[in-house]
């Protein structure tokens, strides 16, 4: 059945082709447009049989070639006419004539980049294009709907499109919506971004595996003083703006009460976030951010623990958690790392200089050299110059310069020694035509393996400048991240039915290695009992190692996975010493939102001399990261 249908369609197509050929003496531009539209409709129909599609594609390419030839012929006639009558036409007439030439040029460009069916046959203006060079580029043909596939080049070779070539072969406008691929990103599809991506590819191909790391030592979780915090230790700094920590529930039963742990929530805000809001300033303005960095040293925490039934069956009231933290020493301010940043600036300048030189080399050797004739750049330049001459906006000297340029051999147009305005404008015109869309699509198609190899060699010759910048940037950021920090904190838990707790704390942090961070806490805890003589005073010491388990790139859109190992010793009057160890994993859900889950073992609890194992989990929100994610999507 399928075979019969295939044969039927092939017969229909062959018959259609025969009819067209018999009637083609000669075929007009409008007829060809009409035929191309019909054949494109079949090509874009997702139900079209693959064999039929293949045959149809051949017919379609043939029509495009014919239409391109006729359009170029018509454009040449118009241009000839344009130069003959330029002296006698009014400005409006000249403009109308130039528009006709421009329309033809655009249609040819659209035709050759696969956009032709958008306008063919219906008399509408063709897809926008400003690529006169395409007027003389018949040797490059593209399939109409081959976006993800390799591009077909006139000489029969195939080129895999680069990472930024999506729009180069965008589907024709008549393609059914169901088959249209996802909208391309806004990232400009131009030579600059293509070259950047190629440089990165060459770096990856040449350099050792990169070390990925990023600071994530700002605390967003509820403070350790909260009974059910997922953290045994506190960190030295808070989120730059506002952090929100939620502990939803315990995973295990509480040995003291028999109840599961209490849900809690805390909000931590830096004084900086409040100050910038009060002043109505953009908190991410670098000048404001750095000028008022001391406001970021101070942060406040406010939250609560939800009251629950205790062991006696009474409902306890909510507990208020309040605290403040002051960063006494911050080694992680970028301003304190001028030496590392000075090295970065040396490489920044080297990278910028080398990018300019590399672009100039590719322009001179590839665009103005190897591919000049293949892209029919001379024809494009002649059309550009004719347009300039017929526009009537040039003075006598400028007209003469352009006239002289046309009389010169083509090689001298691209001679860097020729620096009059006409030569400079021609070279700027060619760059903008082929280093931007839609002309860049033609350039990409024309880049054969030999040209790509040559470009890679040019890149490789300058690769040190770019890898040097990458390495210097990573080293500088790593040094900033590893610098020590020291802060003092005060926290309190205020409870109506149980003793209030007050905690003074010293916090030290230091980056031991790339992905390994050490945090030490020394605390004094005072419990103010309502009963005479029942106050307790305790000293606590806790330490935590934080390991970054995954590189960031393996968890697109989220932070890395972190593993925490912590221990805590608790000594006090009237109670036995308590020792705890904790393992915690912080699972990134998406940018700015993490899911910490911990398991804690204690040799005993405060009330019962019995081992205690409890699990906790919660969510953390970092508004600075959320804001950054939001800004990046705008």
């Amino acid at each position: 059945m399928k075979t019969h249908r295939r044969i039927f369609w092939i017969c229909v197509l062959v018959l259609q082709f025969a009819v067209v050929v018999s009637a083609q003496s000669p075929t007009s531009i409008d007829q060809l447009r009409d035929q191309i539209q019909k054949l494109t409709t079949i090509a874009n129909d997702p139900t079209t049989d693959p064999d039929v599609r293949k045959i149809n594609q051949g017919f379609l390419l043939e029509r495009r070639k014919q239409l391109g030839a006729l359009l170029r012929e018509k454009m040449a006639t118009l241009q000839k006419y344009q130069s003959k009558v330029a002296e006698v036409l009014t400005d409006a007439e000249k403009q109308a004539l130039a528009q006709s030439v421009s329309d033809l040029r655009n249609e040819i460009a659209a035709l050759e980049s696969g956009h032709v069916a958008a306008s063919a046959g219906n008399g509408d203006a063709p897809a926008p294009s400003a690529n006169p060079a395409a007027a003389g580029a018949p040797s490059i043909e593209t399939a109409s709907i081959t976006r993800p596939a390799p591009l077909a080049v006139g000489n029969g070779t195939s080129i895999s499109p680069g990472p930024n070539t999506l729009a180069a072969t965008a589907p024709v406008a008549t393609a059914p919506a169901a088959t249209a691929p996802a909208a391309p990103p806004q990232q400009p599809d131009d030579f600059n971004n293509w070259l950047n991506a190629r440089i990165e590819e060459r770096i990856k191909a040449n350099a050792q595996a990169r070390i990925d790391q990023r600071s994530n030592v700002n605390q967003t979780e509820t403070p350790a003083i909260a009974n059910n915090s997922t953290s045994l230790v506190d960190q030295s700094s808070a989120s730059d703006l506002v952090g929100l920590g939620l502990n939803l529930a315990g995973l295990t039963q509480d040995n003291n009460s028999g109840n599961s742990d209490k849900p809690s929530a805390t909000v931590t805000a830096t004084a900086y976030s409040l100050y910038s809001m009060f002043r109505g300033e953009q908190p991410l303005d670098p000048a404001f951010y750095n000028k008022h960095r001391d406001w970021r040293r101070l942060s406040f925490t406010l939250g609560f623990e939800k009251g629950q039934l205790n062991a006696q069956g009474q409902t306890t009231e909510d507990t208020t958690i309040a605290g403040a933290k002051y960063l006494i020493f911050s080694g992680r301010d970028a301003s304190k790392h001028q030496r590392e940043l000075g090295t970065v600036y040396q490489y920044l300048k080297a990278a910028a200089t080398n990018l300019g030189q590399l672009t100039a080399e590719i322009k001179n050797e590839i665009l103005f050299g190897k591919l000049r004739d293949r892209l029919r750049i001379p024809e494009a330049v002649r059309a550009f110059v004719q347009g300039k001459l017929s526009a009537g906006s040039l003075n006598a000297q400028q007209r003469q310069e352009f006239q002289d340029l046309l009389d010169e051999p083509v090689e001298s147009w691209f001679d860097p020694a020729k620096i009059d305005a006409a030569h400079l404008q021609v070279r700027v015109f060619v760059r903008n035509e082929y280093f931007k869309m839609p002309g860049f699509a033609l350039l990409q198609q024309a880049l054969d393996e030999e040209a790509l190899k040559e470009i890679d060699e040019l890149i490789d010759a300058r690769l040190d400048a770019f890898t040097g910048l990458n390495n210097a940037a990573r080293r500088a950021i790593e040094q900033i991240r590893k610098a020590p920090q020291f802060s003092l904190a005060f926290q309190s838990r205020l409870q109506k039915q149980e003793p209030d707790e007050y905690k003074g704390q010293a916090i030290f942090e230091y980056g031991i290695h790339d992905r390994l961070n050490l945090t030490l806490n020394g605390s004094f805890l005072y419990r103010n009992s309502r009963f005479l003589g029942a106050d307790t005073r305790r000293a606590q010491f806790a330490g935590q190692l934080q390991f970054q388990m995954t590189p960031e790139k393996s968890l697109a859109g989220r932070s890395p996975l972190y593993l925490f190992l912590a221990s805590e010793g608790d000594w006090g009057n009237g109670i036995s010493s308590i020792f705890k160890v904790q393992g915690k994993v912080k699972i990134p859900l998406f940018e700015g939102v993490d899911f910490p889950i911990s398991l804690t073992y204690a040799n005993r609890t405060e009330l019962i001399n019995e081992r205690d194992v409890r699990g906790q989990f919660g969510f953390t929100f970092d508004t600075a990261k959320l804001l950054r994610a939001f800004l990046s999507k705008r």
Binding site: D285, A360, V428, L469, S554, S632
Partner: protein
């Protein structure tokens, strides 16, 4: 490279500056975040604009050429901007072509650069502009 360019104006690859008519370029960079780290340099290794040695700020601006005799100005040059993203949330890079009287003739480049996950410490944006200057 986890940096996305959002082109407000499709960026030009090259620009013709009519120095005889007094035209000039205006480079503008806006940064949001902690510490901007960027350099705009030409292909001769001369710095045109940089954040180096300046206190962090949100807006940077540089006219080029400062005068027709600046440096001296070559007939053709490449001006490449490279900005590191590690300590910055967002850059906006704009290049404008102005007439002698200071009025805007054309926006040559106007793009926003933001980081997208996966973040890397060496995230950066790079944009080159060919500049032809008629004297």
């Amino acid at each position: 490279m986890a940096v996305v360019e959002n082109a407000i104006v499709p960026p030009n690859a090259a620009v013709f500056v009519d120095g005889q008519a007094g035209e000039f370029l205006l480079y503008k960079l806006t940064a949001l975040g902690d510490t901007p780290l960027f350099t705009l340099a030409d292909d001769r290794g001369r710095t045109i604009m940089t954040s180096e040695g300046l206190p962090p700020q949100m807006n940077y601006q540089r006219r080029w050429p400062l005068s027709p005799d600046d440096d001296p100005v070559p007939a053709e040059s490449e001006h490449a901007m490279v900005g590191l993203m590690a300590l910055v949330t967002k850059y906006t890079y704009k290049v404008e072509l102005h007439n002698k009287d200071g009025s805007l003739k054309e926006v040559i480049i106007n793009s926003e650069y933001t980081r997208v996950a996966p973040f890397e410490d060496d995230d950066k944006f790079m944009r080159n502009l060919g500049v032809a200057f008629a004297k």
